[in-house]
Amino acid sequence: MAGFSAPAVWRGRTHRYRLVAGKCTSCGKLHYPPSYSCPYCGSRSMVEAELPRVGRLMSYSVVYSVPFDSKSRAPVILGLVDLGVARVISEITDASPEDVSVGMQVEAVFRRIAEDGGTGLIVYGIKFRPVKGA
């Protein structure tokens, strides 16, 4: 996606690089990315918690209608990954659409997730890839 600001990318580095979720100290639930308040009970008492790095692919879409900056690697596989304690939307990498199926095990890897063609800004973060031999 185009139009990222450098400070915005910098602010999100911890949750994006280490898969850090928000954990509510009132109801105990986790959510990603971390919010100012708990999306479940509304409490603003939050701590950080790293998410498990292996999960199950609940659903996915193979996206062809991508913005300019990801055109060269289209189609992009976008997945809903269930990590047990929380779910995340992420890109599925190191796989072609035929390799991907609902229910498969996927693991987190650190990758380049976006770049801004206008400013040259590169955004790093987590993607998920199929677990080998799973």
Binding site: V62, L78, I89
Partner: protein
């Protein structure tokens, strides 16, 4: 009480020869044909891409002066894809509070101004840009995830879901304001190029420009098309990764519940809802309890929501799928279309003797939802 006394639409298309102000002015002046400028209290503008694309700030004031209403009070409302109904809800509040007695609502947006890859980048901003919006979700990525999840969860096949766009195209054929006025078969939907698999091009709204306007008045004297009984709304989860069940739009369920507390809705004859993608239309029907969960697509395929079917007629305009979805204008088109149906004046597929209508709008995957209830007069 709030009444809709004037309406107008521009045909949804690629209007390369007209800018945002021009489209808004054409729709506004037609809707106001019977009104004197000095009796207009407010103009509420709904536009989303005008901001997303850095085109113009304070757009409401510039539309007001361009159209010939310098001096009127004007403000703009932005609520993503739900902007149009959000603007109608603000206008109705002004009428209900007594602060205004005649308000013009005009929705306008242009998608043909930029190359599609840029427009796709703007679409991703309907979603949380600190969350999934960081990724290349493009046009339909999140809806594609929902569609596959729906098919897996309820064991619904792709062909059954293709009856929705086929119905939308069939409905749009008679609508002179629709962008796509040709019939398609469900099989054609599956053969179309993928946009965000399992979503194909024919499950998706076309990229067009449009403007629609309506006049709301506190007094039911004169030329009244329909009564705007109530508009309700709710916010929802910021991502489909958060709710236990991503196939329920909590925001729409809550908005509908609020609406039924505010107005006694015994029956619904006609609905214009937000089918940006096939799966969105299906999930909205289920959120409104018009179909059992997992059964809406099958109900569509056997004609339940078609003209002459057992259920309410859904999207006789052709919906976002075939009428088009000029983002900030869409909700205004929907209310105009429902009002015209209830007044017996819709120029496309008519729902005979319709007395009760709904318009439904959702941003993204349900970050917000709006619903309006209109009733015929007399």
């Amino acid at each position: 009480m709030a009444y809709i006394t004037g309406v107008s639409m521009v045909n949804v298309d690629r209007h390369y020869d007209k800018g945002v102000k021009r489209l808004a002015a054409e729709a506004s002046s037609k809707a106001l044909e019977d009104a004197e400028p000095d009796t207009l209290d407010y103009i509420i503008v709904s536009s989303s891409f005008t901001y997303a694309s850095d085109v113009q700030l304070d757009i409401a004031s510039y539309i007001a002066s361009y159209t010939g209403f310098r001096g009127v009070r004007a403000l703009a409302v932005e609520s993503g894809e739900a902007s149009g109904l959000a603007a109608v809800s603000v206008a109705k509040s002004l009428i209900d509070s007594g602060l205004a007695s005649r308000v013009l609502v005009v929705g306008v947006d242009k998608l043909s101004e930029w190359p599609t890859w840029k427009v796709y980048g703007h679409f991703s901003k309907f979603y949380d840009v600190e969350g999934e919006g960081m990724y290349s979700i493009g046009m339909g990525g999140i809806a594609g995830i929902l569609m596959r999840l729906y098919m897996e969860t309820f064991k619904v096949d792709r062909l059954t879901l293709a009856y929705w766009p086929a119905l939308m195209h069939s409905n749009a054929k008679l609508n002179p304001y629709a962008m796509l006025r040709f019939a398609i078969t469900p099989e054609k939907v599956l053969e179309a190029p993928p946009v965000a698999d399992p979503i194909t091009l024919l499950d998706s709204f076309p990229l067009g420009d449009g403007a629609a306007a309506l006049v709301i008045e506190g007094s039911g004297r004169g030329n009244v098309l329909a009564e705007l009984v109530a508009v309700e709304s709710a916010t929802g989860y910021p991502s489909i990764a958060l709710p236990e069940d991503p196939l329920r739009f909590e925001s729409l369920e809550r908005a509908y519940q609020r609406l039924t507390q505010r107005a006694d809705i015994k029956e619904v004859d006609v609905i214009e809802l937000h089918d940006s993608f096939t799966i969105m239309g299906i999930l909205e029907l289920e959120s409104l309890r018009l179909a059992e969960r997992g059964k809406a697509a099958e109900a569509v395929s056997r004609g339940y929501f078609s003209l002459g079917g057992e259920g309410p007629v859904v999207n006789p305009s052709g919906g976002l799928k075939a009428r088009g979805h000029p983002i900030g204008a869409t909700g205004v088109y929907q209310v105009v279309e429902v009002a015209l149906q209830l007044g017996g004046e819709f120029p496309g597929l008519k729902v005979p003797d319709s007395r009760h209508g709904l318009a439904v709008s959702v941003n993204g995957s349900g970050s917000s939802a709006y619903i309006a209830y209109l009733r015929s007069v007399g």
